[in-house]
Amino acid sequence: MRGEGIDTLRTGGIGRGEPVSIFVNGEETRAYEGETVLAALWAIGERALHTTARTGEPRGFFCGMGVCFDCLVTIDGAFNVRACLEPVRAGMKITLQRDAGHAAGHAHAG
């Protein structure tokens, strides 16, 4: 499965929680209990967590502590969930938000 047996961004020599399977855009992916969704995604190089509503620009995370709301993903149907705060759960279904069909916003914004 994804994230196993490859060179991830996870630091070596660290004892982690029980291995669990999560699903990222439908693909079964290795994660570890106790880590956040952000950690699980970042570790496998999945860094464009969502694309923005107006210009479709890719975004990762910025603050890592739940303030910036950039690390938005859809988890088990709930959208705009902050990956940096959400702990992984076995069987979790994560969708990376891509152009969720949001409208453009009023043009004063330039």
């Binding site: 959208f79 969720a100 069909g101 949001h102 453009a104 916003g105 009023h106």
Partner: protein
């Protein structure tokens, strides 16, 4: 191109314009209040070639105009304890037409969308009243249909069966009021109007039976016509010349959510989805409240009812709340026009300013330019309050 950033000066922070009061200025039209009415009046007057100065004590749209829901509705929402003059429906229709014209002329976005409105009823009794109302509206020339739940669901799949029936008015529209104010103000400037913010008007200057200008924090302004569109502050200004303008305050708390994928096409009573994708909800009707605070009770009142009607809203995140104070004349209908016995002054105060702003702005501009307007504004004269005892305005509608 890099933006030039200068070192901030260590001034006391007054806006540069306000720091040095101007000498007496003379203009054709001096408008007090930079909300919806002020902005539209400025636009139509400037476009007709008049020298216009608009004075706003804070920022544009900082009063009720900036807080409003933004519904542009032809007669569905009326606020009266008496029969509705047909002229009110006519005014609303004319205003919607002007919005569409303005959208093209001005070229700046108003976020104008005309998907129609749905006004639900929740019981058999409500359905009975609603059916009567729909007939009354049609008799006034307002295009509308009376729908049952199945029909409602065809138009708005997100609405729950709590909506037993509804009046559907397919031509109703909505705007983002802030955008409307900014767009008209910008267009007014293009026609030569001057707009000054952070300028306070302290009093009207009266000479005999004529208002000849205003005293402001920028000095004295002399004007052929002074237009008082100061909303909730309009009454205070006219008191300075001994004229009473009765205006009641009604607070509306409003709420907005995060952006979500398309959920609503129309606006369902007071819930709409903006072009940005956010859901705007509101407003409360709290008579007599003048503080723009939001409360737990207000939040629950609006949200409880919204989730009952549109269950999908339950998991959407609320982002902001705000409140505006509606200026409501005692019978609920607008005050428009020249007060009896005083020249040089025009007053316009109303609830539902969003719907009527373009047409009233046009009326005020016409009155300032040549003293007349093709619209029937007699029902909205200030003097109707002189000797009558009006009860509290109710939300009812009767055909004329």
């Amino acid at each position: 191109m890099p933006v030039e950033i200068q070192q901030p000066a260590t001034s006391s922070g007054h806006n540069l314009r306000g720091a040095v009061p101007a000498a007496t200025t003379t203009v054709d039209v001096c408008i007090i209040g930079g909300g919806l009415l002020g902005a539209t009046t400025a636009y139509y007057a400037a476009r007709a070639g008049k020298k216009v100065l608009l004075l706003e004590e804070s920022e544009l749209a900082s009063g009720a105009s900036g807080a409003a829901f933004g519904g542009v509705s032809i007669g569905i929402y009326s606020y009266s304890s008496a029969r509705v003059p047909l002229s009110y429906v006519e005014l609303s229709k004319a205003s919607l037409a002007l919005y569409q014209e303005a959208q093209e002329e001005i070229g700046a976005p108003l976020d104008l969308d005309a998907p129609g409105s749905i006004d639900p009823f929740y019981s058999e009794e409500g359905t009975r009243r609603g059916r009567e109302r729909a007939e009354g509206l049609r008799a006034c020339g307002v295009p509308c249909e009376f729908l049952d739940y199945k029909q409602i669901k065809e138009i708005e799949p997100a609405v729950s069966p709590a909506a037993v029936s509804a009046i559907y008015c397919p031509v109703d529209a909505h705007v983002t009021p802030l955008c409307v104010v900014w767009a008209f103000a910008k267009a007014a400037r293009r026609y030569g109007a001057e707009i000054r913010t952070n300028v306070r008007v302290d009093a009207l200057i009266r000479r005999g039976d004529r208002v000849i200008g205003v005293m402001s924090s920028d000095g004295a302004i002399h004007a052929e016509t002074v237009v008082n569109t100061a909303g909730i502050g309009a009454a205070r200004l006219t008191e300075s010349i001994g004229l009473r303008v009765p205006v009641d305050a009604s607070r509306g708390q409003m709420f907005v959510t995060e952006r979500i994928p398309p959920l609503l096409r129309t606006y369902v009573h007071n819930i709409k989805q903006t072009p940005s994708g956010t859901i705007v909800l509101g407003a409360t009707r709290e008579n007599g409240f003048t503080e723009t605070a939001t409360t737990v009770e207000g939040t629950r009142e609006i949200l409880d009812w919204a989730v009952r009607l549109i269950p999908a809203l339950a998991n959407v995140k609320l982002l902001r709340s705000w409140a505006g104070i509606r200026p409501v004349p005692p019978d609920g209908y607008p005050i428009i026009g020249r007060p009896d016995g005083i020249d040089g002054l025009l007053i316009a105060v109303m609830h539902r300013g969003v719907t009527l702003a373009p047409v009233v702005g046009r009326i005020l501009a016409d009155l300032a330019i040549n003293g007349s307007t093709p619209h029937d504004i007699d029902p909205y004269r200030l003097s109707r309050f002189a000797n009558t005892n009006h009860g509290e305005a109710e939300e009812t509608f009767y055909a004329g």
